[in-house]
Symmetry: C2
Subunit: 349 residues, 2 copies
DNA sequence: TATGGTCAGTGCATCGTTACACCGATTTCA
DNA sequence: TGAAATCGGTGTAACGATGCACTGACCATA
């Protein structure tokens, strides 16, 4: 069961390995139709599949897309990773998965390792304000697509960003609560040092101000030192927030915008611990619209990210840009987030 | 910024590339301590990292573990994939992720592609009764670790299986409900053609019979043609089951064992649609203990799979067995599942 | 009939690492 | 003391695919 190499194909087709190589690499203009078909049938009959390692060694590239997410343990990232894999498969690539745990140092290490292993396209799900930690590799030619992190002024030119418009998302979520008559609306998040989180927060602030209210008057949760919290623990943030915000009923909010669905669900759980009922006593809205938002009791209102479309965009940017050695400047795509209203938000009694 | 190769290291250390290679491949017995340290410092100073492609081309192997899961979009598999990645990282390997969508043909294709790309160890999360579709590759030397699928009589000898004892799990879950006074207990699942599912079902039956009851008397849900349902749709199965089982109140169950947490949550959602309250009106128990089980309202009783430990076991079997070319027969590890009692199960009123 | 230009395809060096055969210098031991 | 074994290490030929420089054969033009 020895491996079928390009030589075997060449022999079977009665040509030289070089010609087969030309065939494989779309330099087919340089050969007569008959040769082309002879090679084609030889490949089919022998079941030849090019050896990746050899290819990569020769030209220093892979057909692999690197995917760095905070943690696939989190349902949102799991779902996104899944979509990425599907999209990559459609384009004939495989996906190398890395969990950064939101640790910049791990992000850097993964990106560099991937680069040195010949991966030329990486989808990096980060929300760090700066890309300094990977800029060296970008200079060397890495195609970087960031996800969930809109472009920032000092980003390297070639970077492509795919993200929802978090500011608008924050506004839509908050406006929804305002329309329901709520005037004491809290924003619950771990650290908002990340760009997407602060954008959501700004959207929240904008909507509050636009309604003639003052952010300063809103119940405020300063939070735990959120750097302690990875993604899986996002729920704990929500739970802790509920406990703190409702410690004094006089200052408690009637509605809450949570930074994501996991935090929202944790918050709901915290309310339950306090004997409060989501929807009836307190309105809660999350972000992401993970699959569990709809399953929850009560079903969670959420700002949906169109992850299927985003994954497709990210992969095609990563793969297609990677194929031509273009150095045209990157782009920044901000998709519109969609409000999905369910039962966790209700008119103020 | 040219690549640092083994030659550069050799030159810097004043030895031949072969010696550096020997050093790297733990044939250090064949060299004097001084040489060893010279190589070590040279590597550190130059920041040398061996080129994977070249290594792989040379000896036909990778340091990569293949992971084939049904879908990382499902929180359980996402969490498992995460644990696998962590465990692999600790052993210096990377993980190539594939989603089979529970399609045997995709499973086969992925396994073969991985094999041909030099991956020699694969963790396959399948629950197909037979491994015929990948047996060819196993014969050629693939180290296969199956997860969530205990060993079957006709499995190739070298296969290692890691799984919980689903039969016992099914019994424990059912016994818990029986102890709470329930006598009308339904089992809800999509297709139980898979080995783990049927084991859970047998455990359920065993417990029923052991209590002096008859499975035939239990409310039964024949289900949709469950092959239509991927993992993400597991919740839909639960939802549909709730609707059907409670169509006639006279024959409705008072408690339900769901095949996994997603289905259990879907079932809870279905109950809610019907105006029934989980815990109070109907007891529901799931499998897996995904992170959302604890967040749900009410928190879901579940049979926990110790995924961290299982992932570690799977990776170490895959990697360590892969390193020595042993052909010793595989093993089958059945871990004990742990019942986590929460509020979705309650004493029969 | 020279000259030059296409066209279709080939030969060869090369990517970075590794296994194996080999080599000179000591050491061992009968 | 001489033959063999051991030690510490080196030289070289691969692994499979690629792309550049090249070669004949053929055609067109002057």
């Amino acid at each position: 069961m020895a491996r079928v190499t390009i030589q075997h194909v060449a022999q079977a087709a009665g040509v030289s390995p070089s010609t087969v190589s030309n065939f494989l690499n779309d330099r087919q203009g340089r050969m007569v139709a008959a040769t082309r078909t002879r090679i084609e049938t030889a490949i089919a009959e022998l079941g030849y599949r090019p050896n990746r390692a050899a290819r990569q060694l020769r030209n220093g590239k892979t057909q692999t897309v690197g995917l760095v997410v905070p943690s696939v343990g989190n349902p949102f990232w799991g779902a996104f990773a899944h979509e990425v894999e599907v999209a990559a498969l459609a384009l004939g690539c495989s996906v190398l998965l890395c969990n950064s745990e939101r640790d910049p140092e791990r992000e850097r290490r993964y990106v560099e390792e991937l680069w040195e292993d010949g991966v030329r396209s990486i989808i990096l799900c980060t929300s760090l304000p700066s890309l300094d930690h990977v800029s060296q590799v970008i200079k060397e030619g890495l195609r970087l697509v960031t996800f969930d992190r809109p472009a920032q002024p000092h980003d390297p030119e070639s970077v492509v960003s795919i993200s929802i418009d978090n500011n608008v998302g924050g506004q839509v979520a908050t406006a929804h609560l305002l329309e329901l008559g709520h005037t004491r609306i809290a924003f619950v998040s771990g650290s908002i040092r990340s760009v997407n989180r602060s954008a959501r927060y700004r959207g929240y602030c904008d909507a509050i101000e636009a309604a003639g209210l003052s952010v300063a008057d809103m119940p405020h949760w300063t939070g735990l030192d959120a750097d302690l919290f990875g993604d899986v623990e996002a729920a704990e943030v929500g739970r802790a927030a509920a406990k703190d915000l409702f410690a004094d009923p006089a200052t408690a909010p009637t509605a809450v915008v949570a930074i994501n669905d996991m935090t929202a669900l944790g918050f709901c759980r915290g309310l339950r611990d306090l004997g409060l009922k989501v929807g009836r006593d307190v309105s809660v809205i999350g972000f992401d619209d993970i699959i569990l938002a709809d399953l929850y009791d009560p079903p969670l209102t959420s700002v949906r990210q169109p992850i299927t479309r985003m994954a497709q965009l990210a992969v095609s940017e990563a793969v297609e840009r990677g194929s031509n050695e273009s150095t045209d400047p990157g782009s920044s795509v901000l998709l519109r987030a969609e409000l999905v209203v369910r039962e966790s938000t209700a008119r103020l009694a």
